[in-house]
């Protein structure tokens, strides 16, 4: 992924030039659409190319690049007639994206062919060295996705992650997405009158209601990200080396970081989420602050140990 603005602009120029050279007589409209240019941005980049070329930098050495009527003209630029090779991160990103979508049965057949051709070009042959599989799509995926596309309200039974309670919910579905190994639905929950994210494997008894809703103009980016609310609880955790991954997987604020330990501040809708994690991490994590979590962790620890009690040596 190219981050730097100069690199992004240069990358677009070095991608656009070979295409114009290979497609002589192409139109301004086509180049703009393909490469995401506005006509004035394209004109600026062509002006820039026009003053570059080979040493000497006279009329015989500079590239020709301009707009003639509605045509884009590039000449004297043979050395830029081929696009730049994908770097490994780009190649991996595209192949992984194609394979991920391809594994869902939600992709067009053209995607599979594109991935095959790209893999052959990047890896030299079609060796089976990269595989991307999303979590198996739950039965409700197709129906939910269809409902999201059609803007149809849905109703289902949901077992909440944090509280473990089962409840019927009426939801305006916005998007269905896969993240960290699970499928999720994001949308406006009418039952809670708030934006919510639901895990598909905890949804049962799905029914699409005939009512159509108006989705927000700007859909939020689908991501499993915790949005802090006013009822949130906070806790501070000290993570040992084997637990550092927590900072990558959960939306935490990093308080301090040194070689031995990483201290993070956690926000969650319920203490149970943090308590469960804390117990999962065992001796490699420590609760530094957070009374509700401490109480919940104690309860949970007791509940699990009680179940195993007969075999705990006295």
């Amino acid at each position: 992924m190219i981050q730097n603005k100069t690199a992004i602009r240069l990358n677009r120029i070095l991608s656009m030039l070979p295409w114009v050279i290979a497609n002589r007589g192409t139109s301004v409209e086509e180049v703009c659409e393909r490469f995401g240019y506005s006509p004035s941005e394209l004109a600026k980049d062509l002006d820039l190319v026009f003053v570059c070329g080979l040493p000497g930098y006279g009329p015989g050495e500079l590239m020709e690049a301009y707009i003639d009527g509605d045509q884009v003209v590039v000449d004297m630029a043979d050395y830029f007639s081929k696009p730049v090779r994908l770097n490994p991160a780009e190649a991996l990103g595209l192949l992984a994206a194609g394979m991920a979508l391809g594994s869902t049965d939600q992709a067009p057949p053209a995607l599979e062919r594109a991935v095959e051709k790209l893999a052959a070009a990047v890896l030299g042959d079609t060796e089976d060295v990269l595989a991307v599989e999303l979590a198996a799509a739950p039965g409700s995926l197709d129906d939910l996705r269809r409902a999201a596309i059609d803007h149809r309200v849905v109703e289902f039974t949901y077992t909440s992650l944090g509280k473990g309670e089962t409840k019927s919910r009426v939801v305006e579905p916005w998007s269905v997405f896969s993240s960290l190994g699970n499928w999720y639905l994001s949308g406006h929950c009418r039952t809670a009158d708030a934006e919510r994210i639901f895990r598909l494997d905890r949804i049962r008894d799905l029914v699409a209601i005939s009512e159509v809703f108006e989705p927000p103009a700007d859909l939020p980016v689908p991501e499993v990200r915790y949005t802090p609310g006013e009822d949130d609880i906070y806790a501070t955790l000290k993570l040992g080396p084997a637990s550092r991954w927590v900072a990558e997987y959960y939306p935490v604020e990093i308080v301090s970081d040194d070689e031995d330990s990483l201290v993070v501040r956690f926000a969650a809708s319920t203490p149970a989420v943090v308590a469960r994690l804390l117990i999962r991490l065992g001796v490699d994590a420590e609760l530094v602050e957070g009374e509700e979590v401490a109480i919940e962790a104690e309860r949970l620890r007791e509940a699990i140990l009680a179940r195993y009690r007969p075999s705990i040596p006295v």
Partner: protein, 308 residues
């Protein structure tokens, strides 16, 4: 920015048409935009430019200018610079574009910039209401992918142990990335979670090993977190009726499941990574129980009792 891009285009044009390595001094004297007044200003500018080109994936190599290796110069081999044409149709480009928008790596779309190199997309759109997030940033995975595709040995630290691996492939499964390959110490195929590997480095030249013939990363692929490891346990687990439907969703295909009259289930399954398995079991709180083997049950108790 305009001046920088003009200078870089001039540099690329020069290096792509010069078939021999050219020294920094020659570049300074020849290429428009580098005629800086001070040595220091030129040096800084040239360093920045080299970094930027390499970041973009442009193969700027530093080679001796002659057989005596007294002086070094820069060269961009045309065949390493140019992308072999994958022969994509516009329909295929559009499909890749949509996938690159919908699938995210490291918190951002996986590569709309890369699609431009392939000729852009004739119909860029916002995509459908379906998306996937593959976790780690492509940059982190890029080095491993380079090692896989050029068959280069890597070394990294994993749970405080130094590892050397001939990486055969990369797998994304159940929300995590794994690198699969021949572990030098174990002299056997192993898989490691990429997000837990640190201090990754190339440890040798390209084409250093061959993959076993017929190797397929899908077949080595661990199916669940507790199947990625070296342990060899057979666990018996009880799930209460309240979580049985949910547990059944997550159990691997090989698990033997017996249903009791009250809706609870008992499952017998392979576990190759006790630590990951216990982590998964804790998610069920007190609604599930490891019945055996005793060592695994004891490890569960110790993990829970030892938490702070």
């Amino acid at each position: 920015m305009r001046k920088v891009i003009e200078r870089l285009l001039n540099l690329l044009a020069f290096l792509l048409t010069t078939e021999r390595p050219v020294t920094a001094d020659e570049i300074r004297a020849t290429v428009a935009g580098y005629d800086q007044s001070s040595d220091e200003a030129f040096r800084r500018m040239f360093e920045r430019d080299k970094d930027l080109l390499r970041q973009m994936g442009i193969p700027l190599e530093r080679n001796p200018t002659d057989a005596w290796e007294v002086e070094f110069g820069y060269v961009i081999p045309n065949d390493a610079y140019e992308m072999p044409d994958p022969g994509l149709t516009d329909e295929e480009r559009a499909a890749l574009w949509l996938a690159a928008q919908a699938v995210w790596l490291g918190g951002q779309p996986s590569g709309p910039d890369a699609v431009l190199k392939l000729g852009g997309s004739p119909m860029p759109g916002a995509g459908e209401p379906l998306a996937a997030n593959l976790g780690l940033a492509a940059d982190l995975l890029g080095d491993l992918f380079a090692a896989v595709s050029t068959r280069r040995t890597v070394r990294f630290a994993y749970r405080d142990k130094a590892r050397r691996l001939d990486p055969y492939g990369l797998v994304h499964q159940r929300g995590h990335w794994y690198v699969v390959g021949r572990d030098h110490q174990a002299d056997d195929i192993r898989s490691y979670r990429v997000d837990r590997a640190t201090a990754l480095e190339f440890a040798g030249e390209e084409h250093a090993f061959d993959r076993p013939s017929g190797f397929s990363v899908r077949e080595v692929l661990p199916k669940a977190p507790w199947e990625a490891g070296q342990e060899d346990l057979v666990a018996t687990v009880h799930f209460d009726q309240s979580v049985a439907w949910y547990a059944t969703h997550q159990l691997p295909g090989h698990a033997e499941i017996q249903e009791a009259a009250d809706g609870a289930i008992e499952a017998i399954m392979q576990v190759a990574n006790a630590e990951a398995f216990i982590g998964w079991m804790i998610g069920f709180e007190a609604s599930a129980e490891i019945l055996g083997p005793p060592a695994l049950r004891q490890a569960m108790i110790e993990r829970v009792a030892g938490s702070r």
